[in-house]
Amino acid sequence: MLRVAIEVERRRFQVAADFEVAAGERMSLFGPSGSGKTTILETITGLVRPRTGEIRLGDRILLRTAAPAMDLPVWRRRVGLLRQNPALFPHLSVDQNLTYGQGRRRAQDPEELIRRLELGDLGRARPAQLSGGQAHRVAAARLLLADHDALFLDEPYTGLDRRLARLLTDLIRDTAERRHLPTVMVTHELPEAQAFADTMAVLDEGRVLQRGHASEIVRRPASRRVAELVGYVDFLGLPEGGTLGLHPDRIRPGASPGLGRVLRGTVRRRRPSGAVWEADLEVASSPTATLTCRFDDVPPDPGADCEVTLLDPPRFDRDGKLTAETAR
């Protein structure tokens, strides 16, 4: 079990985090760029020193600023961190990088890992000869092969395509489960975060805004700000006061009154998005609003009207807090 309560001074704000991650629990840390995610991970690892705080891992105290003060150096914390910059050792071959952290206890079968991350033919290459995504995978594999008591992954999907990202997710999951480690992942990809994690913490400007089950947070963001962060791109002012959060994935074209509130709008723009299409609709509701909706096929021509159904949108009051009743 990892128990963190820290306050770290940063350039413009203070990062204050207070949370626990149970052994075997996988948590994802979600937040906009510059919100303090890396700061938290680096503080736990011992690379950044907090102003005050306490960090415990299992029965070990990694850091305590209160008396009796304690500050384990990085190499004694046994906390594994995959950083945003892969930081491969440029003077070592890929193979030597991979086995760098392997102690007496073999944490993982290297062969299997290398195979699963498709690093098979890179063994003798130098880091300078790797592509960006290859370097990132090597860094991830190097971390998983080392023997740590906790795993932190700071944007492990950098430079990886969807397929490799999913492979890596599975690998980290397997490792964390088998070794029963508390694991924290930072990512900007909500689906990846969910595919990986049990729980999620949403961070903004150094504070944890919401913590809970990932699907719960996405469905019921505690505040408008959280909603923005987890992908609600549009907000619809309600005549009765408050706003509805609109998520592109949770708007259905066509009127299905049984499923939720139906809105009528005018198509303003449309574009392909992945295997489907997206259209921006201007909604005729009292304060004019725009919303983005997905279509399986080419949306109506711009200027045409169309109806959409909102699937169970969260509703926020004037202060931006989630209100208990939903807006069916």
């Binding site: 594994g80 440029p90 880091p127 080392a146």
Partner: protein, 278 residues
């Protein structure tokens, strides 16, 4: 240390049509400067007739100074590595309070001319000083002994080594050292596995410089360690005794016996850093 994903191009490959003339000019200019730098060595080689080399080197006692020089400089470099490396590492990693003061001290010690170092060493470790007396208790003397020779060489070369190593350590990307710590390396292990190979270029230069300073040490040596004779004193006394013609071959000997170490060290540094260049 460059991680640039560029296959090393040959000179003419790299220069485009427009750049080629410029590059050739640059190579020529560089060559000129280089040759000017090497001019004394060229003069030395031109000046030595094979017979004079043979006769000087086969003179009785010509072999001993070489051995003594190598032994003393070897010992000196050993002492520097053992004592200077940790100091440089601590300074480079900001582990010492008031780093500017430490640096200033090193720079000051760099500025003492060897002759002055020798004179001051008399005051420090002469037989009638406290340190000299203490040394004599353990049957060591810091005048005219191998020990004195090493002391003189250490003082002539130490600032060069420490400053060089300090610079080398500073040029290592701190993130890689942090990465080693994350992967569980104690500082000592991280030093050997990461810092050392990555600082290899600068360390090679620091070592080569220290080696050159110590094997060529003269100013301080002649004052506190007239014997045992190393090569610089051999050159000097031969010069005084029998003149240039017999003295200069020893300069060549010095070059020949002193060059392998720096060459090896530079070779090691290129390998350690994984640079594979021509």
């Amino acid at each position: 240390m460059s991680g640039l994903p560029v296959a090393a191009p040959t000179l003419l490959e790299r220069a485009g049509r427009a750049g080629r003339a410029g590059s050739l000019l640059a190579v020529l200019a560089a060559g000129l400067i280089w040759v000017a730098l090497l001019a004394p060595i060229i003069a030395l080689l031109l000046h030595l007739s094979p017979s004079s080399i043979v006769s000087s080197l086969t003179a009785s006692g010509a072999f001993a100074p070489t051995v003594i020089s190598l032994e003393a400089s070897g010992t000196t470099v050993g002492v520097l590595i053992l004592a200077g490396t940790p100091l440089a590492w601590l300074l480079a990693h900001d582990r010492l309070p008031l780093p500017r003061l430490w640096e200033a001290g090193l720079l000051a010690s760099l500025l003492l001319p060897p002759l002055v170092i020798g004179l001051l060493l008399i005051f420090m470790v002469g037989p009638l000083t406290p340190i000299g007396a203490a040394l004599s208790v353990i049957h060591l003397s810091a005048s005219n002994t191998f020990f004195a020779l090493v002391v003189a060489e250490v003082y002539e070369s130490a600032p060069y080594y420490v400053l060089g190593a300090l610079t080398a350590f500073r040029s290592v990307d701190g993130r890689l050292e942090e990465q080693a710590a994350i992967l569980g390396d104690r500082p000592g292990r991280a030093f050997l596995r990461v810092t050392l190979p990555l600082a290899a270029g600068g360390l090679a230069m620091a070592l080569a410089t220290a080696w050159a300073r110590s094997i060529g040490a003269f100013g301080a040596v002649i004052i506190i360690a007239y014997h045992p004779f190393g090569l610089p004193l051999q050159i000097w006394t031969t010069l005084q005794e029998t003149g240039l013609a017999s003295a200069l071959p020893f300069a060549l000997v010095l070059l020949v016996v002193a060059l392998p170490l720096p060459l090896l060290v530079y070779g090691w540094s290129a390998r350690a850093q994984g640079r594979d260049r021509g």
